[in-house]
Symmetry: C2
Subunit: 401 residues, 2 copies
Amino acid sequence: MTDFSRLLAERTGSMKASEIRELLKYASVPGVISFAGGLPNPESFPVGGLKKITDKILTEKGTKALQYGTTEGIPELREAIAKRMSELKGFDAKMENITIMSGSQQALDLLGKLYMEPGKVAIVEGPTYLAALGAFRPYGGEIVGVRMDEDGLDTNLLEETMKKLKAEGKVVPFIYTIPTFQNPSGVTMSEERRKHLLEIAAEHDVIVVEDDPYGELRYAGKELPNLKAMDKDGRVVYFGTVSKILAPGLRTGWIIGDEEIIGKFVIAKQAADLCTNTLSQHIIAEAFSSGMVDAHIPEIRKLYSRKRNLMLDMLEDSMPEGVTWTKPEGGMFLWVWVPESINTKEMFPTALEKKVAYVIGEAFYPDRSVKNAMRLNFTYSSDEEIKDGVKRLADTIRDYL
Amino acid sequence: MTDFSRLLAERTGSMKASEIRELLKYASVPGVISFAGGLPNPESFPVGGLKKITDKILTEKGTKALQYGTTEGIPELREAIAKRMSELKGFDAKMENITIMSGSQQALDLLGKLYMEPGKVAIVEGPTYLAALGAFRPYGGEIVGVRMDEDGLDTNLLEETMKKLKAEGKVVPFIYTIPTFQNPSGVTMSEERRKHLLEIAAEHDVIVVEDDPYGELRYAGKELPNLKAMDKDGRVVYFGTVSKILAPGLRTGWIIGDEEIIGKFVIAKQAADLCTNTLSQHIIAEAFSSGMVDAHIPEIRKLYSRKRNLMLDMLEDSMPEGVTWTKPEGGMFLWVWVPESINTKEMFPTALEKKVAYVIGEAFYPDRSVKNAMRLNFTYSSDEEIKDGVKRLADTIRDYL
């Protein structure tokens, strides 16, 4: 038997199956209530509406919807997004500022491909989106996580970090943030911090990447301006997606930004997959322009808001002293801090014995420096599962203490 | 105005907009007959059948078809492909040997990501598929094209090249070939050469990548065994796609190979886009398992065979002395050699004046060493356009000589 692994490129050493993915294998054992996943609740998919639209698309422009499209994406969709984001969020964006991606994950991959290499440092939040780390790593360079608190990324720490890296001669190409209802923490960056972040980015003249998959899923509190809406010099690149407001199986996202930056993503995307699924693009363009998406989002908010409240109530009722958690105003996740004596990775087998699963917190830090935290998803499980699952988790922590 | 291009990684220097893409801009000028594209003919899309299937999928398993899927792809599709390729082509493949890609282009990108880096040499055919060059280049290393003749890749030359590279201490991770109805040449590799290629690959213990988007589109001659069907030690990785037998807008392809190699592609794909469009995967699984694809392919063959014959007849009738061309037994492209005194890139503006477009041959060679050739697509244009277009092209050459 020959061993083809000797032919692999060195960069594959940093490419590993996601930890969540491995954990999910255990979590799918029958009887285990899993708060580990990141899937939207299928109840939230507007199946009937999408069926009608798909039928219309295949009837009215079937051959067009089944043909290759341009790498940038179909004009109908780019225009619909430009219009919607200008009206809804005050973006100064035209079709030319938008290119369609095969999901936001592709945008993360291409961001790494375009800007990361040995000697470069990507700034992310600590904790940050796990799959962003997986996307950036193969391209070389370092990833530095800047800690967050209840107001989001600590921008004073960011300022220090940027100065320190500059003094070391390191080049930071971008700061990657999920400012609104962050994955994994559920935290939203305050308006003041948003301003400060943009000031720091301007001072160091780096790109800011605003990943915003959850921004439209607000259940409490007041709307905050997007970084992209506050952007004066075209340094914010915005990542959007239909995965959480329509359906993730359509694998469609988009980036909005400075035309020159967008042009680089288009060239990178051409080599990566030529173009995004044309049928899905036509379906989504129609879903936006017909008003279907806007009519549907309140339904998702209603469903998820109830589940969020239920999980917060259950945590309040069940958790032992010394356990704290974030109170997300939207999104899909919340973050639990357990006493410092507990390592949630070491506790994981105990949780599985109690038939409940979470994602260990350390996975979300580039340097894995935080051991006493976990991420919980509150949108996927049934109400019963949320009730029982939080109790099991509280029992786990109590037993383990 | 700030200049963000200073933040780009060095590898972006090798990332350029495809030449075909740039040419196509001119080719879409009204009145120009373009043989430059590579699009399937939309007449070949089974719109009605796909509409019925899509309706069935959204009715029977809508939420499943709209949810995230596993990175490997949905089991229904992987099983349908394993069954079909075993029965049709004699592959020894199970579901575990298959992972779904967002089109074959993604397979090319991940092939580069997994195996290419400085010091490595990818072996390709000269000429080869343009977008394969674009996919490999950003990952570093060299690309060496081994010349083809009317029997496909010249395996004696390949043997010499492999020995030479070995002597130079260079590592070749894979040999990339499109053995059947090649893009751009239209040439099919003989059975003897296929055997020889596999012997050389075994001797040097490298991977063989068989890219086979056109294999089912045969209009003449006898069926030849796929490299994958002749593969005894799991070194052939096979790339398949629905783009030419169903619809490219569904952006779905697959790779078939040794489980360990497939596992590496799965990890790479996870960071690249998480999973392929789930709705498309369900549609395609049903299109395969219901027999719809098999019933439809003869229709495509009939349409394209007529267009191929027409273009070959027109070339025979119109071309001046000294011009030769390949006679493809299938696929979508043929290759034209003009007298050595003509540089087809320099002739291109003249062709546009005559209102006809092609792709310049040199773009398909990694070293751009061939100047007197062009690729023509015979599947997209109407019969009238083929007649007029070939005449215009013959006039162009005659005038230019």
